[in-house]
């Protein structure tokens, strides 16, 4: 039986046009910056540290991962630019590599310390990235594979690493809870694990240790000497052989790193995990149009709008899109499509959200919820419409319907910020606070309560009308304007966002289809949500 087809989206793009070429040129600069940044991050702690690492017979963290995963399968690395621009940019990737990979045919979450970065110790962003990876593992039921090579909390930052919910303690709490929920937690230890670090392997279901380099001890030789006046070397105190043959803290003794990775594969091969496909998939087909063209479609000036359908046409199978309610509430583009063969309901923006577009979006979400079609939000939103007409039309109530529908939808939701993500529009389009399964940003994206222009106006107005303070001098207002603009410009930059784990990474437009295919495939392993689902026409 031939697969039914959906209507094909036309394109109006002229690649020879001057505007297109100018846009593309500007976007190329954004891509160059992204690639340069990734190159820096992937290099870890830099040449000297890499050299020392190799000298100890240790492999680089990404080399370990390449060797561990099934040949010719993807590794979907998450937040590679965590901690970007922070700590003098000396903690690339926050010192930990996380991501999803196929090992022995099983999708797994890999959480791997990079010991070339500050000895793999934990900064605030490190724990955040670690906890986020565990959260993804829980949502997608992915076994967690810890490649442990870390020195515990980075002490100068201990107040932002240790005490709070979401800090170091949460990583261990999650480990226990995930394991108890039937999500395997497996560790291989490549380096020293002292104090807190010791509990990553200790709390794992199974542990492999590498002879020579791996250590597990609650207190290292110096603490032992200070505390109980015992003089002992690290290997005797907590070496791989001792733990594998005496204490039983380790279950397997590996002679070298590749052997440890092989042992992990052996363990995973026996996990008894099978992932069914619950989605009504079709054979994947590439889009009709080249995804590289998105770089010329996105307007170099964020104030100039572009048609989100041109982006969708370069993302979905066969550029086919069944658009819902095309002639009503057209600022919000809704429709169903297939992406790498998986059904998906897409919501995109062609302007600010009005009452009509808000309820249209809510309606569409109900449809997808009823039909078990995952939702994809392509955020490019300046916010909900303001003004007398809007308020009198009940925009607050209607936009709340959208926000409610987004929050309450039971199907997996995914978000890509492809442009602006401002104000309540962020909520209505499933921003981070609404816990989409994954959230990625494009290099041109902006995220803030409002744009620098509007923020400046608002703050200047507030200052002028302040009752607590005297009338502002012109100099003060100029300075306020400069400061506000600088703050909003810096903080709405996607690198500022990705550094703080507000997203799961900055990705290139041309990679987006593949990445979305990967995450949709993970979600498809879940059985459909059951129970009544209402479609209230609004």
């Amino acid at each position: 039986m031939p697969s039914p087809t959906l209507p094909v989206l036309p394109t109006r793009i002229v690649t020879q046009a001057a505007g297109f070429r100018a846009n593309r040129e500007q976007y190329q600069a954004l891509l160059d910056r992204l690639r340069d940044s990734l190159r820096y991050a992937v290099a870890g702690g830099g040449e000297a540290h890499v050299k020392r690492h190799h000298k100890r017979g240790k492999m680089l963290v990404r080399d370990r991962i390449d060797l561990l995963v099934d040949p010719f399968t993807p590794f979907l690395e998450l937040s590679p630019l965590a901690a970007w621009g922070m700590y003098d940019n000396e903690v690339p990737g926050a010192g930990v590599v996380t991501g999803i990979a196929i090992i022995q045919g099983v999708p797994c979450m890999i959480i791997a310390n990079d010991a070339t970065v500050k000895g793999g110790s934990f900064f605030h962003e490190t724990v955040k990235k670690h906890v986020r990876a565990q959260e993804i593992a829980r949502e997608n039921r992915l076994p967690c594979i810890y490649l442990v090579d870390c020195g515990g909390a980075y002490l100068p930052e201990q107040d932002r690493v240790f005490p709070d919910k979401g800090h170091f303690g949460s990583t261990f709490y999650n480990q226990c809870k995930l394991s108890a929920d039937g999500i395997p937690q497996i560790s291989a230890v490549f380096g020293g694990c002292t104090a807190g670090g010791a509990y990553i392997p200790a709390l794992s279901d199974e542990v492999v240790m590498v002879r020579g380099n791996a250590r597990i001890h609650l207190g290292g030789p110096s603490i032992v000497a200070a505390a109980i006046n015992e003089v002992v070397d690290g290997e005797t105190l907590g070496g791989a052989e001792m733990h594998s043959r005496v204490s039983g803290v380790s279950d397997y003794l590996a002679e070298d790193e590749p052997s440890a990775l092989k042992k992990l594969r052996d363990i995973i091969g026996g996990l008894n995990i099978e992932r069914p496909n619950h989605a009504a998939t079709r054979p994947a087909r590439p889009p009709l149009y080249d995804a590289e063209e998105i770089a010329g479609i996105i307007e170099a000036n964020p104030k100039n709008p572009y048609d989100v359908r041109e982006v969708i046409a370069r993302m979905v199978d066969g550029s086919e899109f069944q658009e819902f309610k095309p002639d009503w509430g057209s600022e919000m583009v809704c429709g169903t499509a297939y992406l790498h063969g998986y059904p998906v309901g897409i919501i995109g923006n062609n302007g600010p959200i009005f009452s009509e577009s808000a309820v249209k979006g809510a309606h569409f979400i109900e449809l997808c919820d009823q039909r078990n079609v995952p939702l994809l939000f392509l955020q490019n939103i300046t916010g909900f419409m303001v003004g007398t007409d809007a308020e009198r039309g009940g925009i607050a109530k209607h936009s709340a319907k959208l926000v409610y529908a987004v929050a309450a939808a039971r199907v997996p939701r995914f978000t890509v910020i492809i442009g602006g993500s401002y104000g309540a529009g962020n909520y209505g389009m499933c921003g981070r606070g609404f816990e989409p399964r994954f959230l990625f940003s494009w290099p041109n994206s902006r995220i803030a309560t409002m744009s620098p222009d509007i923020a400046t106006n608002v703050l200047l107005e507030l200052r002028r009308t302040s009752v607590k303070r005297d009338a502002a001098s012109d100099d003060e207002l100029v300075e306020l304007e400069r400061r506000t603009r600088a703050q909003f410009t810096e903080q709405s930059d996607p690198y500022y966002a990705t550094a703080r784990l507000w997203d799961d990474g900055i990705i290139e437009p041309a990679q987006t289809r593949d990445i979305l295919g990967l995450v949709l495939a993970l979600a498809a392993a879940e059985p459909p949500t059951t129970g009544r689902s209402h479609v209230y026409r609004m």
Binding site: T73, P74, E77, A284, L518, A524
Partner: protein, 666 residues
């Protein structure tokens, strides 16, 4: 009237005979041993009968079983092919007894030509010269010297009781004779207990040329011209051609004259071949022997005469008149045949056994391939090693040679070592192209033996690409959509971090380490820090590889991680293993102590080169392990003394099994 013909043979000749039968409307019966149940000749025949066990003595040489098969199937003719029972009179006689048509000469001719002494006597009586020699009883120096002078120097002294070259001595001139006789007598006495000597003319540059005869039962006999069969190794013909190059008309006439004289003398009534030797420097031809059967190399004669010799043979056996007269037979163009054997010419022609993973004959104008095997056939140790004959025809010898060379290059024989590349090197040799052929050609052209080309990094890269593409197609991630189809996708790929897959690529002589990344046939290949682009497209068993833009065609087969590749007449097996899969085996060996030699993978102990107590040096090969059809040499990791051996030749061992323990000395 032959209705149904039983071919008492196997392999290419059985298939070839059946082809003509089909053309003539004759039904065919194959016979097969247990080893040949799935052989091509069985599939080719209309019916097939099992005649016994794999050993030829109980099957293809079992006259009773063959006669039973003929009775059982109602075959009223038997063709013996060559070899096996073709020149044994027993089968021919049984056929005559039972009124079954014997496709061969009368039994009397077989008997008379079957004896080396008798056949030479008949030849001499018929005025056909044999190699001049002295076989007399008088053994004194004077008699032998007189005989030597009559034969003419140089001569060869042999021990009468000898054989296999022992006690043989070449004497170039008369002055050296007395001394040589004394030494030869002493050697003959010591070696065989008999000092008797014989003397033969020493042929310095021998050529082996034979004449094809065809006779009928009505007294007609013609020759079908000559074949040159000088390219030989260990007396096995490798390359034959017709007509013989660089042969004067005088000698040619002498050959035909001698051959037909002999044929008439014995009333020859079938296809047969009279073999001669002659000296490229002049002298001869001299009669060697007569083969009273179809020859392996008959197709070259078929090409140049336009005749179907098997049809001719069947027709005369059935009593028909020879359909041709001597005047009507002419030679046009040149045909050259090369015999591709399952053997390793780089290792003393060691027989190669096992499955032929891919067998794809060339497709060339003027080229014929006769074979009894196909992809998936298994070469067993029971029979001869001939895989295929490839025969190229051309209007002249140059074209025929070029076509033969090109066809040898195109022929894909994978999974088993064959003489294909060796034959091509012979055909491409300037001396061969010049037609300077003697039976010493191989020894003189390859004085240190033929080695072939060493392994090539490009081919290793090609093997990696084939492996990668196959691996991608068989992803271990079902139900995972793009996880199975996006290859080694990496978010940071554009920033320079591809998803590298570390590989060990092994050939029988070495293992290289390399890495490959990419997807769907477009890869990067990294070896020793150098990255090259590698693209592959496959179409059935053909792969087109582009390595940094250099495009080449390969034939290939992938099976259980072993990639068999063929290109340009060469073939090789590559064991491609992701390094993660062998991780730990080396470490385990190290942990057991550097002195332990352990199996790096499961396999068969092909050679055990040491005994307990023996001293070995670092790097000495102590074991040869056969795994995935490859031979892995396992070296000693330390110098020392062998203290213990945990395996025996022929054992099958698992990965990591300890094989030999070496204790450091001193």
């Amino acid at each position: 009237m032959i209705r149904k013909l039983l071919v008492a043979n196997r392999g290419e000749i059985a298939c070839r005979i059946m082809r003509t039968c089909r053309k003539m409307g004759i039904r065919t019966v194959a016979v097969y041993s247990d080893a040949d149940r799935d052989a091509l000749h069985v599939a080719t025949a209309d019916e097939a009968v099992r005649i016994g066990p794999a050993e030829a003595s109980g099957s293809y040489l079992n006259v009773d079983a063959i006669m039973d098969a003929a009775r059982q199937t109602g075959a009223n003719a038997i063709h013996p092919g060559y070899g096996f029972l073709s020149e044994r009179v027993a089968l021919a006689e049984r056929c005559v007894e039972l009124g079954i048509v014997w496709v061969g000469p009368n039994p009397d001719a077989i008997t008379r030509m079957g004896s080396k002494i008798e056949s030479k006597r008949i030849a001499e009586a018929a005025g056909v010269p044999c190699v001049p020699g002295y076989h007399g009883f008088a053994q004194d120096d004077a008699s032998l010297e007189k005989a030597a002078r009559e034969i003419g120097f140089p001569i060869l002294i042999k021990a009468s009781a000898g054989g296999g070259g022992r006690g043989m001595r070449a004497v170039q001139k008369a002055e050296d004779l007395a001394g040589a006789l004394a030494l030869a007598r002493a050697e003959a006495q010591a070696g065989f207990g008999d000092p008797s000597l014989l003397i033969e003319k020493l042929i310095q540059r021998p050529r082996h040329i034979e004449v094809q005869l065809a006779g009928d039962k009505h007294g007609n006999l013609v020759h079908l011209f000559e074949r040159e069969c000088s390219i030989q190794r260990n007396y096995q013909k490798l390359i034959e051609e017709a007509p013989a190059p660089n042969l004067s008309q005088t000698i040619r006439d002498a050959l035909f004259d001698a051959a037909t004289k002999l044929g008439r003398a014995i009333g020859y009534d079938s296809l047969g071949t009279v073999e001669f030797i002659l000296d490229a420097d002049g002298g001869g031809p001299w009669f060697l022997e007569m083969n009273t059967r179809l020859q392996v190399e008959h197709p070259v004669t078929e090409f140049v005469t336009g005749l179907d010799l098997v049809e001719l043979q069947i027709r005369v056996a059935d009593g028909e008149f020879l359909p041709i007269t001597q005047d009507a037979v002419t030679v046009t163009g040149t045909a050259i045949e090369a015999r591709i054997n399952a053997e390793d010419p780089a290792a003393g022609y060691r027989p190669a056994l096992g499955e032929i993973r891919l067998f794809k004959p060339p497709n060339q104008d003027g080229v014929r391939v006769d074979t009894g095997v196909r992809s998936g056939s298994v070469v067993t140790p029971y029979y001869d090693s001939l895989l295929a004959k490839i025969i190229a025809y051309g209007p002249d010898r140059g074209v025929a040679s070029a076509r033969l060379s090109a066809s040898l290059g195109e022929f894909a024989i994978l999974g088993i070592t064959s003489s294909q590349a060796f034959l091509r090197d012979i055909v491409d040799h300037p001396r061969f192209r010049a037609g300077e052929l003697t039976t010493r050609f191989i020894g003189e052209t390859f004085p240190d033996g033929w080695a072939g080309q060493p392994d090539d990094d490009d081919d290793s890269a090609a093997a990696a690409a084939v492996w990668a593409l196959t691996r991608e197609a068989n992803s271990a991630a079902p139900n995972l959509g793009p996880w199975a189809t996006l290859g080694g996708f990496r978010v940071s790929a554009a920033a320079g971090h591809a998803g590298w897959v570390a590989l060990a690529i092994g050939t029988p002589s070495r293992t290289i380490e390399a890495e490959i990344a990419g997807k769907k046939g477009r890869y990067a290949f990294r070896q020793d820090g150098i990255v090259r682009s590698l693209e592959i497209a496959i179409d059935g068993d053909r792969a087109t590889l582009s390595l940094d833009g250099l495009i080449r065609e390969y034939s290939f087969v992938e099976k259980a991680g072993t990639i068999s590749l063929g290109r340009d007449g060469r073939a090789g097996d590559f064991g491609v293993t992701p390094r993660i899969e062998t991780a730990g085996s080396k470490a385990a060996a190290d942990a057991a102590g550097a002195g332990r030699v352990a199996a790096p993978m499961p396999g068969l102990i092909s050679q055990l080169n040491v005994v307990a107590g023996q001293s070995v040096a670092l790097g000495d090969t102590v074991i040869v392990l056969e795994a995935m059809k490859l031979m892995y040499s396992l070296p000693a990791q330390i110098s020392g003394r062998v203290t213990e051996i945990f395996c025996a030749a022929g054992d099958t061992v698992p990965s990591g099994a300890p094989l030999v323990e070496i204790e450091a000395e001193g």
